[in-house]
Amino acid sequence: MIRYCLLFIVYCLLFIVFGCSSTPRHFDGTDEEREYDALQLRGKWEQIVEKNRQQPTQSLACRKVVCLAQYRLGHTDQHVVKECLSDSREVLTSELAAMMMSDVYMQLGMVTMAQRAAFEAMVKKTGVKDSERALRRLTETALITGQYELALKYIGIVEENFSSKEWVDEMRTLALHPEQIRQHEIFNKLRENYENTEDQFFL
């Protein structure tokens, strides 16, 4: 009996030491990037511009977010924003930077670039456990660009690893019934943009 008690205590200690460290690791990237990312996700464009005005950001990814914020506030036009995004390779310094860029591209209707950045974020992962954001974006971009089998694959992985039943059901319905994408307000808009934009290259 004492032996079992001791074993139990050892297990508890092991769990405290190792179990806690196996919780999903934080997205990498700098503190500054995390702050800008949070603001971008909440659409706090004024705060982003103000934050950068007070202390100009050192991060390339954050600068892109600032460009987007300025565009959102009507301070610049789309041409200037796209110019700001031209160094698409150098900005991919971390998984977080890649996901931030994916969001920036998505907001500007550049679906293939959003897909690329999300893919970069995903491949950098050591496992799928902390890839939910990238996988969701990859699903969305696959649906918009008509890659339904691929979308189903990503949906399956999200379903297997995360508790996102509502999202999974919605996306799976779209993948299995692509005609419904035309009724999806955001996806349809992005699809039209994807289909009607003249092709050009980003390095």
Binding site: E120, L150, D199
Partner: protein
């Protein structure tokens, strides 16, 4: 002190189990198909599609599932034309490895009839039987090697070079980049599937080209593992005189020479196009590396200034050097005008020099297409290559198809038996040239998987089958890696991992010299 079980406790336990079983049968429907199973004239839609494929004797069990996720159970009976049978049921068809091999051996040159019954919405359906043909030919390899990597662009995460036994499901890493400070590892290439001689590259800060060039003396596995470390060389990844790194390799059959391309590769991304990316070279050349004196032998005939020579390969008799060549274009404007012809030039292994005349075997002026990755069969009969509309980096070209050039007749044709509307590429021959493997994106449009097909004496290929897995549906569905540059492997690759890693981590590199041919 343990209390012996009484009869009454046994009885109550049996009753409970019986009750559970009854509840299962009532609640979930029958667990095996009965007489009332509905008969269907259709073939079962299974994953992977093994309907009508031809397999070598030594292949691992072709486990499969129904394609539809709403199928809750299947019942499969496999019957050999010459005798023997297997019966499995459950969520998927998972065959016992040893029993499977006995069945294949008993039905060599014949076929297996596969009868599938599937339960969906509580009702069983019996589908039309299909055949799996068992070839007379062995696959002529212990297994395959490949790189598994997420098909990314700039960043890369975990990746590795692996070897996989083809008669079981065992996969082992040869090198994983987590062992070698996160470098990118690629292009593992053996000499005509012989693992005694191989080459692969490691890129990034501790880059180098790793070459194992063993003479292949017979020795025990343990002894061999010890000697591997001594036989490894790590070359400097770049030579200033060469102007770039060694890239796509191919061994000369005598083991002394390796031909490489050297490429300055770039990529650009489409904003709105059915293609995601263009991968191209701003320049490339082909040269021969002499492993005995560490010399890079350059020849102006395969290093023309305004031309991009690429994807070299030696013929199995060692007398020819195949390569592709295209007139260089201006990027990005003329990205879709760079088209490669398939050529060859004589090679003299006694001097390490190439001949004076280049033969054009597939001319882009006539085809208006681009040929890439020539791979001569080891019986000197064919050259298999990939054809794309332009460029050479075929995995990003959905139109990429395998073509077969008959060296006896000079005729070339698309391998329609194996091609799809998605990219087929990166093919290799088995040592006996009866089988070939290739990668395809047919599964989901992005992630490449390995497929195998045999080729008969008339050059007709059989329906390809996907690399078997124990649970293929579960495995491939969740796998976010692509299979890259797969090749057959005659025997298991013996690696001394510690030695490879320590060599890569050290800054010691074998210097190469450059000599001029013509």
């Amino acid at each position: 002190m343990k209390t012996p079980k009484t009869n009454s406790s046994c009885r109550s336990r049996c009753s409970f189990l019986l009750l559970c079983l009854t509840a299962l049968l009532v609640g979930c429907g029958q667990i095996v198909p009965g007489e009332d199973a509905e008969q269907s004239d259709e073939l079962p839609q299974i994953y992977p599609d093994y309907v009508g494929v031809t397999v070598p004797l030594d292949i691992a069990p072709l486990n499969f599932s129904m394609l539809s996720d709403s199928v809750s159970a299947i019942d499969v009976e496999v019957t050999g034309g010459k005798g023997g049978s297997m019966h499995v049921n459950g969520e998927s068809a998972e065959f016992d490895v040893d029993e499977w091999h006995r069945l294949l051996a008993a039905n060599r040159g014949d076929s297996l009839s596969v009868s599938v019954c599937a339960r969906q919405d509580g009702r069983w359906t019996r589908y039309r039987d299909f055949c799996i043909y068992v070839s007379n030919d062995s696959i002529g390899a212990w297994g395959i090697t490949y790189r598994r990597i997420a098909p990314g662009y700039e960043m890369f995460g975990p990746m590795g070079l692996y070897q996989r036994c083809l008669s079981t499901f065992d996969e082992k890493p040869l090198v994983e980049n987590s062992w070698s400070m996160g470098t990118c590892v690629n292009c593992h290439t053996a000499n005509a599937t012989n693992p005694d001689q191989y080459v692969f590259h490691a890129r990034a800060d501790h880059g180098g080209t790793v070459i194992r060039n063993s003479k292949g003396e017979a020795m025990g596995e343990e002894q061999e593992a010890q000697t591997v470390g001594d036989e490894l060389e790590v070359l400097q990844s770049k030579n200033d005189s060469l102007g770039g790194a060694m890239v796509y390799p191919y061994w000369h059959p005598d083991g002394r020479f390796i031909t490489f391309s050297t490429n300055k590769t770039s990529q650009m991304f489409h904003l709105s196009n059915k293609k995601r990316i263009e991968v191209y070279d701003s320049s490339s050349d082909v040269f021969v590396y002499d492993t005995e004196n560490h010399a890079i032998v350059q020849d102006t005939l395969i290093m023309k200034r305004l031309w991009a020579e690429n994807t070299p390969a030696f013929s199995a008799d060692g007398q020819w050097l195949y390569f592709t060549t295209a007139r260089r274009q201006v990027y990005p404007t003329d990205y879709d005008k760079e088209r490669y012809s398939l050529c060859r030039v004589a090679f003299d292994a006694s001097t390490g020099s190439i001949g004076q005349t280049v033969d054009t075997l597939v001319n882009t002026r006539l085809t208006s297409k681009s040929a890439t990755w020539p791979r001569p069969s080891y019986d000197n009969r064919y050259v298999m290559y990939t054809q794309v509309n332009y460029g050479y980096f075929s995995i990003w070209h959905p139109e990429a198809d395998l073509w077969l050039l008959d060296l006896q007749t000079g005729e070339t044709r698309p391998l329609d038996e194996v091609n799809t509307e998605r990219a087929e590429s990166l093919h290799s021959w088995s040592a006996n040239s009866h089988w070939f493997l290739f990668t395809s994106r047919r599964d989901d449009g992005l992630f490449t998987r390995v497929y195998f097909a045999s080729i008969d004496e008339h050059g007709r290929a059989t329906k390809p089958f996907m690399l078997p897995q124990r649970d293929p549906k579960g495995y491939y569905r969740l796998l976010l890696d692509s299979y890259n540059t797969p090749d057959f492997c005659l025997r298991p690759v013996t690696t001394d991992t510690r030695s490879v890693v320590s060599r890569l981590q050290s800054s010691e590199r074998m210097a190469t010299t450059v000599t001029r041919g013509n």
